[in-house]
Symmetry: C2
Subunit: 340 residues, 2 copies
DNA sequence: GTGAAAGCGCTAACAG
DNA sequence: CTGTTAGCGCTTTCAC
């Protein structure tokens, strides 16, 4: 077995409590003893046994993270940000992949809960009711999901699609389409609403092209609807859809952005490497992960101050990233406007 | 606090030891008592406190996983496989991202070691010496890295590039290039060696085009070397390089695979969505992650039987995935052969 | 087949 | 400022 606190105490010729105290509140220990103890700790290579500590403090020093699918390019960045921030604040991350199985999620939370001080749920698929149950098991912070009464990190979806629409307007588009994702999700609704409002604001026509699965094939499947609607540009619910759509359009021999411009949402790495590179609205994943950890820990620390309800910070800003898939200036589309 | 084993014992009218025994060796408990206890466990929603258990058993039920960069598309699949398999065998995964910092890795292992029963190190960047130190802290299993005396999951790199070269030969290529990755890495050496041997075997010319960073820009940077070498096809150390290369070639107006064919290695999701879709050698990540967990747990369980040295299973098979980036049949290249 | 007792490594009062 | 005492929740001999 490893070297214990008692070993250190013996070696330093003090009691266990003194060593323990040296670790928790060094200022309450005589400088000389303290130094000696630290020296012994270093010499012996003592590592506190977190399990034993947690047994008595009730805190584990662990943070749980649940993602629906780690292979989905959206989540690794998020997990990474969460992991980094957690580590910085002295926590270790327990990662669990629910494998896109909503039914499994609550079970995972149940088994995770006793081992962690809080759980970050990324894009949880479970129901609001289940979420409420989950919340009784451990402090919870939601990312990319909203549920009544549960703290969440939110982003400015509507603001993002507004910027996208505005960009298209600047390029002289007048009739654009929106390919949706999961209709029941708040982010879908907000993105669509934001686009609608912006279209009105800028005097454009926004065609709802329906919803598809938020996947590459989902995006491909949307191509026909896009063509039928005779729009000159399309906003997709997310990047994966946008890329699938672009691929299908290109395979039809349609030029992007020459004939149709495409804008995604999220800014996954894939978008930068697709051809043409995808214009997109950046989902601030680093910030989101970071905020989630900070809010969650504040909430746990619970000194009553600060945005302990997790809603204090407001939606995180989104940002339009302009790349190749929208870089055509459509002068001809402008005619009606210029003449009118 | 949560419901404890003692609560269950009280509710069932038995002692704590009996409940404990029911959980560990049910057959040594009277059927009636057992049933009653299980009923109470379910009713009360009892969850064993892993920390307390680990305190006495010395086992944590946790597995550590260290990756250099979760945002690198290669790793999420691996982590996912590890996570799934670990979960299946009743372990929870502690994930740590070393943020591509080799110097930080050992420190992470040190802090992880006391909390886990074993550690899976994915693509560890640390030195062999450090690895040896790490191994003294906790049982270790390497993926995508080899070090003397340390158990590792290996894959058949040479076999993979051999299949790739063979494929190119079938398409009538005769002069092909190899764009390398990290020269000191075993996988680079094996992939190159495999390609060399296969080129000889199939009577082809294999030009070593040097090494680049295993990144998108690294691949782009290799384009000029490819052009200068006047090869009709190129093997890249990995997919990311291959995709960067393809993009640059396409931006030069060169047709892939019409003028130059490209093959990657790994089979990351990106390859399937790039344009043209990337022919590649599949790195069996699911299998690798799974094997790593199984080997590691066997090693920990250490009953002496089985491949407890972690090298028993031999290299995992790789597989050529043919996609759009090599689908041109280069009849003209054959002339010399046909005529000769 | 079951219970009593001891203790894993640590922290948190409480004395001294 | 430091040591003593008493457990945290659980498993594990060892009696019964």
């Amino acid at each position: 077995m490893a070297v214990t606190l008692t070993d250190v105490a013996k070696a330093a010729g003090v009691s266990a409590s003194t060593v323990s105290r040296t670790l928790s509140r060094p200022e309450r220990v005589d400088a000389a003893t303290r130094d000696k103890i630290f020296r012994e700790i270093a010499r012996l290579g003592y590592q506190p046994n977190l399990a034993a500590r947690s047994l008595i403090t009730g805190r584990t020093g662990n943070l749980g993270v649940v993602v629906p699918d780690l292979a989905n390019p959206f989540f690794p960045d998020l997990v990474r940000a969460v992991q980094l921030q957690a580590h910085q604040r002295g926590f270790t991350v327990l990662l669990v992949d629910s494998d896109e199985n909503p039914a499994a999620e609550l079970g995972l939370v149940i088994s995770l809960a006793p081992q962690v001080d809080g759980i970050v749920l990324c894009g949880a698929r479970m129901s609001d009711d289940e979420l409420t149950k989950a919340q009784q098991l451990a402090p919870i912070m939601l990312i990319n999901r909203i549920a009544p009464g549960i703290p969440a990190v939110t982003i400015d979806n509507a603001g993002g699609t507004r910027q996208a629409v505005r960009h298209l307007r600047a390029l002289r588009h007048r009739r654009i389409g929106f390919v949706g994702g999961p209709v029941t999700s708040r982010s879908h609704q907000q993105r669509l609403a934001g686009a609608r409002a912006a279209a009105e604001e800028f005097g454009m026509e926004l065609i709802d092209l329906g919803s598809v699965a938020p996947s590459f094939v989902g995006g491909s499947a949307a191509a026909d609807a896009v063509l039928l609607a005779e729009v000159s540009a399309v906003l997709a619910y997310n990047d994966v859809i946008a890329i699938g759509l672009m691929h299908r359009l290109v395979s039809y021999g349609i030029e992007v952005p020459g004939e149709i411009s495409v804008i995604g949402f999220d800014d996954i790495a894939l978008g930068e490497m697709s051809h043409p590179a995808l214009t997109t609205v950046r989902y601030p994943r680093e910030l989101a992960g970071q905020s989630a950890v900070n809010d969650l820990l504040d909430l746990i620390g619970g000194d009553g101050s600060g945005p302990a309800d997790g809603t204090g910070r407001g939606p995180l800003p989104t940002e339009l990233i302009i790349r190749g898939s929208t870089t055509a200036f459509h002068t001809h589309l402008e005619e009606t406007h210029v003449k009118g």
